[in-house]
Subunit: 111 residues, 2 copies
Amino acid sequence: MISNTTFSALADPNRLRILDLLANGLLSVGEIAKRLQLRQPQASKHLRVLLEAGPVKVEAESNRRNYKLRIEPLKELDTWLEGYRQIWNERYDNLELYLKQLQEMPKNHQN
Amino acid sequence: MISNTTFSALADPNRLRILDLLANGLLSVGEIAKRLQLRQPQASKHLRVLLEAGPVKVEAESNRRNYKLRIEPLKELDTWLEGYRQIWNERYDNLELYLKQLQEMPKNHQN
DNA sequence: GTTATATATTCCTTGACAGGAATATTCCCA
DNA sequence: TGGGAATATTCCTGTCAAGGAATATATAAC
């Protein structure tokens, strides 16, 4: 079972945007704040949430702190989704089967 | 871009559990409350959140209301994840490549 | 129609969280 | 060692969401 902390961390538009930024490579706090038009403290605060929840890691480089994506929590999300993917495939299969049966049914039996 | 409302709806342990229950088929409010040891009003309230956020739908049957999974928002989640899946595959590919190069490298060049 | 059952809604209180502003901390460099 | 740049933290305030309790609504059964 996936924990809800991952979802909580992503339940904020700015943090979602941060992840999308980091998908293209590591960034410093200042860069993130600049690109998202956030004030630096808010950027730091959001990054802290992401850091503690998991989907981000940090690496100090002199007085910069470079944040990177941490892919594991997203993999967990993927794993969690797996169970539901089965459901929608199942349903799709049923629809396919239904359409096939409909096609094979003689026209005069289609009411 | 996925909206954060889906994540918000899932950012609660009880709602996650509700989804997991509904993955096995439709359930009435009372059943959900009972299985999750929730009071009925709280169950209703969580279901309302899920209903408005998307991942659940409802069907009235006499004085019961049967809630079902609505798979579309989870598909959206899946689509959103797709971008990140590319990242982890990419990294995996790089690792594979690295290991391959390592293998092909003559032993006396491995420092 | 009255009663029971299932569900939804309202009101209240409390706790968590986001943003703003100010300040603290850390590290580099001269 | 002092100053500046980058980042983190603290304090404050307003908003929102969750749970509890009580109540309203709807449907079935008699």
